[in-house]
């Protein structure tokens, strides 16, 4: 099958056995690549009894169908497993370099099962068979040092390394996997699963190419796509001001959370802005393989109470999760938090969620210094945040509590409904009271309250996709918006499967052209969109298999039901129940059970799953 390498590497970490398995071409055709294809594999390998930290939970690394080709910004790949944080589908999507390198070494993906008795790392090079190598000497190292040490000891300066830090080793439930220094597969604890397998790193050096059916046609389409993406205004903003370039706008429309989602206005937000970073602490740009945008900042804070050496700078989510949300506006401080999280291997959003919730509990009298190892959690004070990040990574004292995530904290401190999370995941930093579409995104995202499985805030900001009838409307619109959100989720699932970064807004006319040239058969935009919808529904079915109970968990957090008296939300609280009902209707999902209706699954080519899903409902199967 052209366009793919045709091989999956299967690793049994328990026995050390490594073997090649042919890519399941039926799956690839239906679910394209990246998290969609990985989710299809995962569906076969897990059920509701699978221990997320046990040997039978596979860690799947999967590339997108266009990853590693000339397609602009096609570095994306995913790590997928049952999440130890949420219990449902775990997936973390990342750029950097390791996805491209995996395809160059000849694999579309890797499936790791089992648990190694000792720390190991996986070494893949196209001049030798894959091998698991001892990593005992690396255990305990941070992510930056791990990457550098492996490259050094392999004597392969161009090898690329994805690894965990101490947080993953200590099974912090939101540990990340990092490559290219600070490119993080952050969400849902995929680094935790990697740590549970005692797999410290995956190092790859490849020199091959992705086989394409029509190289010249592909090259021309990729060139046109590059030209078109470079003319995109949001790409230009990202290029010059990074992901936080829109902070001022997002603040204006009530999208930015302050004081753990309880305050509508914060003067300090102006100090955490991509434009300001560009003009003050930025020393250069960083980015992923094959990307002309380079949306990351390289920064240095030479002076002040929180000096930071030259390193990767914080992006929007981190500036909000560990800055605005805690009322901390010192760029040096937030950059320090960011660097600590990266080196220790922590997801900055969930770290910010856990720390933010701890601050909220403390300032509402639900915990005291007796609970916090004596730390005084004063809004705006960076000092305890630095302490807490370190404590979380090694599960020390109060950090051990935070390491299990905000939902576990809610239960421990009898603060039912007060953690801002849905399905166990802390949300991205986009307040649904500012942009109502995000309410539906968070409630229905396949991995919990994720902002990226449909980054509808971009649509709300004005980025329309008329080809799919996705057009921005009033930020506070309730009735009628959910179908647009659903279409956008489908569209994003389609882009995700390709391995293209969503920030570049791949031109529609080129995407089918790229697939057609890669696969050697004509692929239409409708084909790809339908695959996106299929992937979204697959993930729903998988989550139901894993025990998702939507009527108990698709619930707005209490703090989001409270209007904010000032700021850009203008006191608005979306009618999330109305929007969710309309969403279900559009999706053809059953309200009581949360299941996609059999006829919908059949339409999407998922009839076998319909039979399994509806087997308890006589007459509704297929």
């Amino acid at each position: 099958m052209r366009g793919y390498l045709g091989k999956i590497l299967v690793v049994d970490a328990t026995t050390g056995e490594l073997r090649d398995e042919p890519l399941n071409e039926t799956y690839a055709r239906q679910f394209i690549g990246n998290s969609g294809l990985a989710a299809r594999y995962l569906y076969d390998l897990v059920d509701a009894d699978t221990d997320p930290l046990g040997p039978y939970n596979p860690l799947i690394m999967m590339t997108g169908a266009l990853t590693g080709t000339r397609t602009p910004a096609s570095s994306r790949h995913a790590f997928v497993a049952r999440s130890p944080l949420t219990g449902i589908l775990g997936e973390a999507n990342v750029g950097g370099f390791t996805g491209r390198e995996l395809r160059r070494v000849g694999y579309d993906g890797i499936i790791v099962t089992g648990q190694s008795p000792v720390p190991v790392y996986l070494w893949l090079s196209d001049d030798r068979p894959p091998e698991l190598r001892d990593a005992s000497h690396l255990w305990g190292l941070d992510t930056y040092n791990t990457q550098a040490r492996i490259v050094e000891e392999l004597g392969q300066p161009r090898a690329r390394v994805a690894c965990i830090g101490p947080a993953g080793e200590n099974l912090v439930r939101y540990a990340a996997i990092l490559n290219a220094d600070a490119r993080a597969a952050g969400r849902t604890g995929m680094g935790t699963v990697m740590g549970s397998k005692r797999l410290k790193a995956i190092a790859i050096r490849g020199r091959g190419e992705v086989p394409l059916s029509d190289k010249e046609r592909f090259k021309q389409a990729a060139r046109r796509a590059l030209i078109r993406t470079q003319g995109d205004f949001s790409v230009q903003v990202l290029k010059e001001t990074g992901t936080s370039g829109g902070m001022d706008y997002f603040d204006m429309v009530g999208n930015v959370p302050f004081r753990y989602w309880t305050q509508g206005r914060f003067e300090g937000v102006d100090n955490l802005n991509g434009g300001l970073i560009a003009e003050t602490i930025a020393t250069g740009h960083t980015g992923c393989w094959g990307c002309a945008v380079q949306c990351g900042f390289e920064i240095e804070v030479p002076q002040g109470p929180y000096p930071v050496p030259q390193t990767d700078g914080p992006e929007y989510e981190t500036l909000c999760a560990l800055g605005n949300q805690l009322l901390i506006d010192d760029l040096g401080a937030v950059s320090t938090f960011d660097l600590l999280c990266d080196r220790l291997g922590l997801d900055t959003i969930s770290t910010g969620g856990a720390i933010g919730f701890a601050f909220w509990l403390y300032n509402n009298g639900l915990i005291t210094p007796d609970d916090t190892d004596g730390l005084r959690l004063t809004w705006g004070d960076p000092a305890p945040v630095i302490e807490l990040i370190g404590k979380i990574a090694i599960r020390d004292g109060f950090g051990d509590v935070l390491a299990d995530g905000s939902l576990a904290m809610e239960k421990r401190y009898q603060a039912s409904g007060m953690a801002v999370q849905i399905n166990g995941l802390d949300p991205g930093m986009h307040d649904p009271r500012g942009m109502s579409g995000m309410a539906v995104v968070y409630l229905t995202s396949p991995r919990g309250a994720c902002h990226n499985k449909g980054d509808f805030y971009q649509v709300e900001a004005g980025h329309d996709f008329p080809e799919f009838n996705i057009e921005s409307g009033d930020h506070h619109q309730e009735s009628g918006k959910a179908p647009t959100v659903a279409r956008h989720q489908n569209y994003r699932a389609m882009v995700d499967s390709s391995g293209c970064c969503q920030f570049v807004n791949m031109p529609f006319r080129e995407l089918p052209e790229l697939f057609s040239a890669a696969w050697g058969e004509e692929v239409s935009l409708d084909d790809l969109y339908t695959a996106g919808e299929r992937i979204f529904n697959l993930k729903r079915v998988l989550n139901l298999k894993l025990g998702l109970n939507p009527r108990q968990s698709e619930i707005f957090p209490e703090l989001w039901t409270r209007p904010l008296s000032e700021g850009g939300t203008q006191g608005f609280v979306p009618d999330w129940q109305l929007m969710l009902r309309e969403y279900y209707e559009y999706r053809q999902w059953d309200w009581e059970t949360g299941r996609p209706r059999p006829e919908k699954l059949v339409t999407l080519g998922l009839g076998d799953m319909a039979d399994e899903l509806w087997s308890d409902h006589e007459g509704e199967g297929c």
């Binding site: 205004f233 010059e240 001001t241 370039g245 001022d248 102006d270 434009g275 900001a461 004005g462």
Partner: protein
């Protein structure tokens, strides 16, 4: 009694706009750190047969000067935003968010992106000031 309308892209219109800016406390607050001048180019369309260059010098929450530039080459302002009359009409009537206008390239921007992206709230207040100028569009 209705207010008398002034024609968009004329010296009279920009003078009223200038006055509205300097009366606006909201703009003064939102743009208190802003330093930068503009050409707002109104491209020819409808009854407007030649492009009009409106110059504005905005400084720390105030308009220090605003006029129609007869010789556009005489100045090189830090920012240039251009669009046809009909697009400016959409913006002024609050039917087109300026950010969406930039995203969709209905508004074309030249200048330091980092600086302009730090001033979106100020830009929003600027647009609100235009809504207080009773405007007749040359379409």
């Amino acid at each position: 009694m209705s207010e008398e309308k002034v024609t968009f892209a004329t010296q009279a219109w920009i003078e009223q706009f200038h006055a509205e800016i300097n009366k606006s406390e909201a703009y003064r607050q939102a743009a208190k750190t802003w330093e930068g001048d503009f050409y707002f180019i109104i491209e020819a369309e409808g009854a407007l047969t030649e492009p009009v260059y409106m110059y504005m010098d905005l400084w720390h929450g105030e308009s220090r000067g605003a006029f129609i530039a007869q010789d556009p080459s005489a100045r090189s302002p830090e920012f240039v935003i251009s669009a046809p009359v009909s697009t400016w009409k959409e913006v002024i009537e609050l039917r087109l968010d300026p950010i969406k206008g930039l995203l969709t390239k209905k508004l074309k921007l030249k200048g330091n992106m980092a600086k302009i992206m730090r001033a979106v709230k100020a830009a929003n207040e600027l647009v609100r000031c235009t809504t207080r100028v009773p405007t007749d569009f040359p379409l």
